[in-house]
């Protein structure tokens, strides 16, 4: 009798864990619109290559303009495109904000506007998605903008958050090494 209760309890526990893991990975593994995700990924990849070429030619303004166009396109939500869609968005926004911080004289934007761009790129669900370097970079860039605004406490908080993400990623790297 006692053994049966224990078996049932273990089964419940296993089922609950499986469900939790499944739900946590649902966005990543099963985007509701895989076709849109493929189209988005192709677009982003092509645009990244174009931006690389523009930067190689020294056309920073062109690269920023292209990233702004990319930014304004409709982005897939996490439900539509899974975690990958959000990572792609974070990558594009991160590149845009990096260039804007490195070249503040080109099409200048106020720091508050940059913060808005970062918030728009991160969205509300960035803490829920699987840890990745693009999100970490965008969080770190938010820290840099806070720093420019002399909001050092906020900056340190953002850096801590980004460092935590990168620490997780580095641990994964070390764990998956040969």
């Amino acid at each position: 009798m006692k053994g049966r209760v224990l078996s049932v309890a273990c089964g419940f526990l296993l089922g609950a864990l499986t469900m939790l893991v499944g739900l946590a990975q649902a966005g990543r593994l099963a985007p509701s619109r895989p076709d849109a995700l493929v189209a988005l990924a192709q677009t982003v990849e092509v645009e990244h290559r174009r931006i690389d070429l523009l930067l190689e030619r020294g056309d920073v303004a062109g690269a920023i303009g292209l990233l702004e166009q990319l930014r304004k396109q409709p982005w897939l939500s996490r439900e539509e495109g899974g975690d990958v869609a959000v990572e792609l968005r974070h990558d594009v926004y991160g590149r845009l904000v990096r260039l804007r911080l490195d070249y503040p004289d080109i099409d200048p934007r106020k720091d508050d506007e940059l913060l808005q761009i970062v918030a728009e790129g991160l969205g509300d669900e960035y803490r829920d998605i699987d840890t990745n370097p693009f999100t970490a970079r965008l969080v770190a860039l938010r820290g840099e903008i806070f720093e420019t605004l002399d909001r050092d406490d906020d900056a340190l908080g953002a850096y801590e958050e980004a460092l935590d993400m990168n620490r997780t990623l580095l641990e994964r790297e070390l764990g998956s090494g040969p």
Partner: protein
């Protein structure tokens, strides 16, 4: 009239009880009168009064010593010898030394950006991104490729089903 003037004998014989010869003259006069009666109690009072009346003269050495004592009491003590200074001075020196140590040891490097820690964090994060991004991009590509393959499969299946229906319905 000073004490010395009082003690000074008058010219022409002892003038009063203060004179050393006055008592001898008194006793001589009593013996000459027949020695009747006693004046000893009166003489004792006279000696007491003479003693009380006589001012003690101080020698130069004694006066100098007394004045030295008085001077020592009255003269203000220099500030560096006062008690509060003996306490306050070491405390002040210790405080100054501590302040100097703190300033010297904890002095911010003028070449260093006061927000250097924050800035170095940004640099470190960017370096980490450069390290991690290529693999993450490859991972994204793999995921998208898998989705693309699945999509292709679905499209082929749809096309085959559509084509089969068309061919099947053709005459």
């Amino acid at each position: 009239m000073t004490g010395n003037e009082r003690e000074r004998p008058h010219a022409g014989g002892p003038a009063g009880p203060a004179h050393p010869e006055w008592e001898a003259e008194l006793r001589a006069g009593l013996e000459a009168d027949g020695g009747s009666g006693s004046v000893e109690p009166e003489l004792a009072i006279a000696r007491l009064l003479v003693h009380a009346h006589r001012l003690e003269s101080l020698g130069d050495e004694s006066a100098s010593r007394i004045w030295t004592d008085i001077d020592r009491v009255l003269r203000p003590v220099p500030w560096w010898k006062r008690r509060w200074f003996t306490v306050a001075a070491p405390a002040g020196v210790a405080a100054v030394m501590a302040a100097v140590l703190i300033v010297v040891i904890a002095r911010p490097d003028p070449k260093r950006d006061p927000r250097g820690d924050v800035a170095s964090s940004a640099d470190l994060l960017e370096q980490q991104f450069d390290l991690l991004a290529p693999k993450a991009r490859a991972e994204v590509s793999r995921t998208v490729d898998a989705g693309r393959g699945q999509l292709r499969g679905e499209l082929i299946a749809m096309a085959m089903a559509e084509g089969g229906r068309t061919h099947g319905g053709a005459p």
